[in-house]
Amino acid sequence: QQQVKQSPQSLIVQKGGISIMNCAYENTAFDYFPWYQQFPGKGPALLIAIRPDVSEKKEGRFTISFNKSAKQFSLHIMDSQPGDSATYFCAAGTQGGSEKLVFGKGMKLTVNP
């Protein structure tokens, strides 16, 4: 049973456009929701994360939106750049319980110049 479902699997956008990727989770005990970014040949790196006490968090061009009732969260990349081309993983975890995250299957973003 997949606890974190990520969509779409891949996305192609033009430079300057908005990239949107979504995740849905099942376990209502999750209370930490990060997005990791991975460039080819590299390990994933934390991009941005949110906790359920807020509905939105913005860091530069990257915004996480969180909908607790729908059990969904999304990542928006504004003014997408070719350098944003990477694989993005959403994840979920429980601060007070397990020490590990559950990752989605990843989404490959391609930003065309």
């Binding site: 590299k42 390990g43 994933p44 993983f89 020490e99 590990k100 995250l101 299957k105 990843g106």
Partner: protein, 114 residues
């Protein structure tokens, strides 16, 4: 960059042979993790450690064992490699647990079992 070193970076081995991958950290983080990454499956946790000699299984632990005899080193062993274990393996570290803060990943080890 967090001080994580995975070795080897690439390895080709034959079916049935034992293989050990090493993860070495210089950050003195308590938690260490081993993942495998495969197309269409994302990142799947194999084993993790929450302290020296304290380890637990992840979702795909069959065929793998781990050991952590000191804080800085976390070893992943494939007792008898199979072709299904061909994958890219990532080590990660975290100071207080992945759900409490940032996890730092190594550069990965590409393992091919022929």
């Amino acid at each position: 960059d967090a001080g994580i070193t995975q070795s080897p970076r690439h390895k080709v081995t034959e079916t049935g042979t034992p293989v050990t991958l090493r993860c070495h950290q210089t950050e003195n983080h308590r938690y260490m993790y081993w993942y495998r990454q495969d197309p269409g499956h994302g990142l799947r946790l194999i084993h993790y450690s929450y302290g020296v000699k304290d380890t637990d299984k992840g979702e795909v632990s069959d065929g793998y064992s781990v050991s952590r005899s000191k804080t800085e080193d976390f070893l992943l062993t494939l007792e008898s490699a199979t072709s299904s274990q061909t994958s890219v393996y990532f080590c990660a570290i975290s100071e207080g647990g992945q759900a409490r803060g940032e996890a730092f990943f190594g550069q990965g080890t590409r393992l091919t079992v022929v």
